[in-house]
Amino acid sequence: MPRLTVNGKQIEVPAGTNLIEAARHAGVEVPHYCYHPSLSIAGQCRLCMVDIEKAPRPTIACNTVAADGMVVLTETDRVRETRKSIMEFHLINHPLDCPVCDQAGECWLQIYYMQHGLYDPRMTDEKVHKPKAVPLGPHVILDAERCILCSRCVRFCDEITGTGELGIFERGDHSEIGLFPGTELDNKYSGNVVDICPVGALTDRDFRFQVRVWYLETAKSVCAGCARGCNIEVHVNRRRPHHAEGRRVARLKPRVNADVNQWWICDAGRYGFGFVDDNDRLLAPTRREGGTSSDATWDEAIGAVAAALRRLSPDEVGVIASPRMANEDLFALRRLLDICAVRRVGAQVPPRVPGDEDHILIRADKNPNSLGAELMGLGGDARPVLDAARARQLKCLWIFGHDLMASRWPEAEVLEALRAVETIVFTGTNANRTSERAHWVLPAAAWVERDGTYTNFEGRVQRFRQAVEPLGQALAEWEMLDRVLAALGEAPSATRAEHWFRRLATVVPAFAGLSYQALGDTGRLVAGSVAARAPR
C-alpha cells in the first residue's frame, strides 16, 4: 500500500491506484475529461496534469500510478497555467453555443472553464466546422463541433457493451466522432454515452430541449424495469411544467452502485417511464355497473372491497398480486390475506414475450420485486387463481397491476375467468384491457410517486423515494390496503411506507435487522441471499 502526500495531506492507497483516484482519497478533485473509473486509460484530454515533486514537468494523473513517497501537488502555479492552456486548446474549435446546448448547466467544459479558463480568446482564425444535430441512433444525437475527442463514448462501446459502433475518424482538427457509415448506435445501453460525454456533443433525444437542467429536482430511486434494480436518479420538472407539456418526469439517470449497476443503466429502463405521465393513467376510483363506469370515492371503493372480503368465504376470494409491488405493499397484502384467511393467491403471470437477458445488466424477469414477493410468500404462479375463477369457484378476484389480457395466457381463458367472477377489483397505475373489465378500479401511485423498497434478484433490498406527487387520487398500494384493513377493524398502523417496512422486518426473517436507515442509498442484502453468501 503506497503512502504518498497530495497537497500536503498524507494518504495510503491500494497498490495500482492512479493519481486521480489517490487525490480523491485526500479529498482533492483533479479536473479531467477522458478518465472514467470503469474505462481504460486514454490519456487523451491532458487536463489532469499535476506536479510531482522532482519531476521536471507536470504529468497526467490518470496514467500515473501512486508510488510510495510521492509528493503530488495539484494546485501549483505551473499546474494552473497548464490547465488554462489545455482549456484554451480544447476550445479552439468549440462553437461556444451554450445558449442552445442541452448540456448547459451540467457541462464539464463550462464548469472547468469557470474554474480554470483563460478569459480572452486569442484565436482569430475561422473555426473548423463539423456536423451538428446528427441522430446516431434511436436515443442519442451528436454535435461533432462540441466534441472534445475524449473517446469515452468510443471506449464505452468497445469495453462495456463490446459493440464497437463509434470511432474517431479523420485526423488532426478534422477528427470527429462517428459511426461506421450505414450503421446506428442502437445497442441496449446506448443512453449511457450521453451520461459519460462530459460536454454537449452527445445529448439525449428524448430529454433534449424539454427543460433546462437547472430547473430539475432529483430523487434517489431504483429502476423498476427488471429484477436487477439498477440505482437511478429520477429528475423531475416541477418548476417549469409548461416547458414539457405537463410531462413531470424529465429523465432517469443512473446512480452509481458498485454492487448492482456500476455506472450504467439499460435503455429499456432509462426510457421506460413514459407510463407515469401517460393519458391512460387511472386517476380516481371507479365503479362499473352494467357496462357503465362512474367515479366513486375512496371510501365507497374501500367499503365495497372490505364488504366483499367480510361477506365471502376465504375460498371464494382470489388475489393476483404483482412482483411489481413494493415490499411494503406486499407485506400489507400479506397481512390482509392472513386476517381474511385467503389462500388463493399468486403473483407470477407469464409475459406474452419472454424477457431478454444479457451478461451486463438486463434480466429476463422484468419485475423489480419477484424475490420480495417470494420472501413474503406471495410469489407463486397465479395460474391456479385463474383456473379457480374459470371453474366458477371465485366470487371476488383482486388483480394488482397485471394486464392478464396481454399475458401469455390464452385470451379466451382470461375472458372466461373474468366473466365468471362477480366482483373484479383492479389496482394499477394505468388503464388496460383487464382494468376495463373490472367492477372496481383502485388507482395506484407509480413508483416515482411514492416511497418503497424492492428486493432485486440477488436479494438486495433497495429504497426508492418519492419524486413527484401521485396523479389524481392515486394511492400507494400499501395505503389502500391499510384502509381496507382499517375497514375490517384493524387498528391503523401506518402513515408512511417506512412503518410497513418496520413491521415487515420484524416478521419476515429474511428482512430481520433491516430498516430504511440501514438500507441507505445503496441497499442491503437480505439474510441468506445468494449474493450475501458468495465471496466478494
Binding site: 459493440t163 464497437g164 459502433e165 470511432g167 475518424f169 459511426l179 461506421f180 442502437d186
Partner: protein, 170 residues
C-alpha cells in the same frame, strides 16, 4: 461482444475477398506483431493493391480478419492519406507543395497540371486516367519542384517536362 451477432456493419456482405495465399500472408503479418492489430496497415495496403481502393465493404471484410469492429478499421483508413476511399485514376500524380518545392515553383506546376487535366487536387480526370494530389514533403528537396507519378519520382519539374510525363501516361 456477445457471440453470434457481429459488429454493426453494412447489410451487403463484402464481395471482395482475399485468395488463400493472401490470407496466409495476412496471418504471417499478424504474427509479426505482439498485438495482431499491428498488421492492420500492411493488410490494408494489400487490400488496396488488390482491389485498387478501400471501399466500405472492404473495410468491413478486413475488420473480420482482425476481429475488429468496422468502425475501428474506418478510423485507420480515414486517418491516413495513402488509402484511397474512392477509386483513383489509372495513374496517381502527387505534387509536393511543401516548403522547398513551393519556393522552387510548385504553385506553377500545380496550376499547370490543373489546367492540363481539368481537375483540382484531390480529383480524377474525366477520362479516369489521372488522379491529381497535392501532398506534403516527399523528401526530395534537392530536386525541387518534384512529384511522384505512381511509384516513381519525377524531379526538377518544368511545365514542358510535366507535359512530356503526362503524354507517357496511358
Amino acid at each position: 461482444m456477445s457471440e453470434g451477432d457481429g459488429y454493426p456493419g453494412l447489410t451487403d456482405p463484402a464481395t471482395t475477398v482475399f485468395s488463400e495465399a493472401q490470407l496466409a500472408e495476412v496471418r504471417r503479418l499478424q504474427s509479426l506483431y505482439p498485438d495482431p492489430r499491428g498488421a492492420l496497415l500492411p493488410v490494408l495496403y494489400m487490400a488496396q493493391e488488390t482491389f485498387g481502393w478501400i471501399s466500405l465493404p472492404l473495410e468491413e471484410y478486413v475488420a473480420t480478419l482482425f476481429g475488429l469492429s468496422p468502425a475501428h478499421v474506418h478510423e485507420v483508413v480515414t486517418f491516413y492519406t495513402l488509402y484511397f476511399r474512392e477509386p483513383p485514376g489509372r495513374h496517381v500524380v502527387s505534387v509536393c507543395h511543401n516548403l522547398s518545392c513551393h519556393l522552387a515553383g510548385a504553385p506553377g506546376i500545380i496550376a499547370h497540371l490543373r489546367q492540363r487535366l481539368g481537375v483540382d487536387p484531390g480529383e480524377t480526370s474525366e477520362d479516369g486516367r489521372v488522379t491529381l494530389l497535392s501532398v506534403e514533403c516527399l523528401c526530395a528537396c534537392e530536386a525541387a519542384p518534384m512529384m511522384q507519378v505512381d511509384d516513381r519520382y519525377e524531379l526538377n519539374l518544368t511545365p514542358t517536362k510535366v507535359d512530356r510525363i503526362l503524354e507517357g501516361l496511358a
